[in-house]
């Protein structure tokens, strides 16, 4: 856009401060040699789509869906009229779109190939499963290597499988909603995902069932020049409740990696879905994700989103509040470090009376990092009693960081209340002096201040969940790191 300004390259902030406010990125930075039986090769064409369909033995309707997705993708321009020009650095003809070892996902970790097991053990996934999860799906490149859900949940009728199994084995539930919350043509990347999707979860929670422990998916990229395109559909039937958590990491390669997921949530009458993400991709990953939920009458969809990693993330979780008194919420934390652009936000579409939405977004720009908030709130005609509250706060850690906020709020009619507030601030010198006068080093004072800024949102995340977030919390608890 015409507002674009350039930022001169400048010295990074001092190493100690960097360490103190940084998160553990090294943890995911390892990979194993590739052992792929199926490889769709480099580049994207109609043949690539057919290759994937053949390997996965897609039903015809899915094959047709994929081809339509490809066509839409090719016809849609890059959204660089409003988004960053960095998107032009994605070379679609250099990416590998499908890599898999041809194995079905295992129900026991013992059966998982050793290097895959080691990968997930290093990431702490089996340990977390034992500790507090109701089910886990672990995806390695294009396909799930492990997928298991607690037996009693299965008996209650909970379905927790990968998308391939979902569309084949549960077509009657899967197909009516698949691609309905996010149509193929929603944006260029949802179209791309529709063409080459593989992996991701299909979840169905039966009527009235409240799943106590979270379900988790872990998305792992192991291969270079790779694109991961998981597709997740979660349906909570009337009165059901579920929390789903996703984590992700990738090794840091020289070349760029693409991650472009589509996540659709359907909360039927009175249902509640909470979707928690801790995104910690390595800094060569383009993370371009489309996420949206439909909330029917008295239902609630909450997106709890933390973006720490990636080179560029573009993600604006949305809620379509379709039934009366439906609620939508987006809680978002973004940390943009040197070389990163976190372009995140929320879309709240009010489509019934007395619907309520809430957006709280906090971003931290460090060094030359850039954080952008984009929001859309729409309250159309002939509705009554809709409410939206949006708060976005940005914290800047260094003179060279950058933050932007671009909300768009459309309200029709005089029976609604919307409120939007945004602020930009920095850790003041006065605050740092105060903390240092108590003997706390500058670096530790900075990390205390940063954690203080996001503290109220961190409490929205399940405590046990992620290594990454835990570390952020630990900084607050212990204070004197650095």
């Amino acid at each position: 856009m015409s507002y674009e300004t350039t930022v001169d390259p400048v010295d990074a902030i001092d190493a100690e401060t960097q360490v103190a406010i940084d998160v553990d990125r090294a943890k995911g930075d390892f990979h194993f040699p590739e052992k792929h039986k199926f490889d769709a090769g480099v580049g994207l064409s109609s043949d690539t789509v057919d290759y994937i369909s053949n390997v996965k033995d897609d039903p015809d309707w899915v094959r047709a869906f994929r081809h339509k997705g490809l066509e839409t993708f090719l016809n849609k321009p890059m959204p660089t009229n409003w988004a960053t020009k960095d998107l032009d650095n994605i070379h679609f003809d250099e990416i590998r779109y499908y890599l898999a070892d041809g194995q079905k996902p295992k129900r026991s970790w013992d059966e998982v190939p050793p290097e895959v097991l080691e990968t997930f053990e290093r990431l702490g996934v089996p340990e977390q499963e034992r500790a507090f999860l109701a089910g886990v799906e672990a995806q390695y490149d294009s396909e799930a290597a492990y997928s298991n859900v607690k037996e009693e949940l299965e008996k209650d009728g909970v379905i927790f499988v990968n998308s391939t199994e979902g569309l084949k084995e549960h077509e009657e539930i899967f197909r009516p909603w698949f691609g309905k919350v996010i149509p193929t043509g929603d944006n260029k990347f949802s179209a791309l995902n529709s063409a080459v999707f593989s992996g991701g979860s299909f979840i169905y929670i039966p009527k009235g069932l409240k799943v106590k422990h979270p379900l988790q998916a872990y998305f792992r990229i192991n291969s270079e020049n790779f694109g991961q395109f998981e597709r997740t559909l979660i349906i909570a039937d009337e009165g059901a409740e579920v929390m789903y958590m996703e984590g992700c990491t990738a090794p840091k390669f020289e070349s760029t990696t693409l991650h472009s997921a589509v996540v659709e949530l359907v909360a039927m009458k009175g249902a509640k879905i909470q979707y928690v993400t801790v995104q910690n991709w390595s800094s060569n990953v383009f993370n371009l994700v489309t996420k949206r939920g439909i909330a029917h009458e008295d239902a609630e969809v909450r997106w709890i989103d933390c973006n720490i990693g990636s080179r560029l993330t573009m993600k604006y979780p949305g809620v379509v509040m379709k039934g009366e008194r439906a609620r939508g919420e987006v809680i978002s934390i973004a940390l943009a470090n040197n070389g990163q652009h976190q372009d995140t936000g929320a879309k709240m579409i009010h489509a019934a009376n007395h619907t309520t939405s809430n957006v709280v977004s906090k971003s931290i720009s460090v060094g030359e990092g850039r954080a952008t908030y984009r929001g859309q709130v729409t309250i159309p005609k002939h509705l009554k009693g809709c409410k939206n509250n949006t708060e976005c706060d940005a914290l800047m850690i260094n003179a060279n960081s950058k933050t932007d906020t671009y909300p768009a709020i459309t309200v029709r009619g005089n029976q609604h209340v919307t409120q939007h507030e945004a602020s930009v601030s920095q850790v003041s010198e006065e605050m740092l002096f105060y903390m240092q006068q108590r003997g706390i080093s500058e670096a530790a004072a900075m990390s205390l201040a940063v954690n203080g800024f996001i503290n109220d949102l961190v409490s929205e995340f399940p405590m046990e969940y992620s290594v990454e977030l835990k570390r952020l919390i630990e900084l607050e608890m212990e204070g004197s790191v650095g």
Partner: protein, 251 residues
Amino acid sequence: MSLVIKDLHANVEDTPILKGLNLEIPKGEIHAIMGPNGSGKSTLSKVIAGHDDYTVQSGSVTMDGEDLLELDVDERSREGVFLAFQYPAEVPGVSNANFIRAALQARLPKGEELDAVAYYKNLYSKMDVLDMDRKFTARAVNEGFSGGEKKRNEILQMMMLEPKFCILDETDSGLDIDALKIVAKGVNAMRSPDRGFLIITHYQRLLDYIQPDHVHVMSDGQIVKSGDKDLALELEESGYDFLKEGELANA
């Protein structure tokens, strides 16, 4: 411990504020500095603490013979210098308990962890002295605090960190008489033969509750008059007009 300030000159940007200040506070003593607004009292406290905005041009500040001016702010604090701020900063989102804990943790050798149980026990006992509600530990540092709560919080931190040398900068400002008494109680509980105090105040009021050993008058960046606690009463009665009238001969 003893704090010795010799011929201290300090500037804010290019403006000299401290102009050859001399002061010695032997261990166990409480010294009060009084003086009109703009005399440099608060600057002195910031310079001792090591604030970046002030540049020391010449002179020295030593504590038990160690040169404080060589140290960073946080190093001075860990050496035992404590400043109770006139306007304590707010630290949003960071609870008091975690803040004080971080400050104590910073004083431990690397790898050593603070004993959480002992810490809370200690914290609660000090809070009781200052008549502070337990809920206070969960509130963010100084955020939304009343003037009195902020000052009490300063004294609580002082009691927890057990410094060698305490500077109280206008701690009495904005306090009602009850709060003032509580603050004084905390300070008096801290009095010890090993600890020195510098109390900066505009009014004599606080000194009714914390008896100073010496009172100094500061004007235009220097100590211009020194005496015992009666000097404070004198000043309260006759004000600082004498400074203008050139009656500095007896300083």
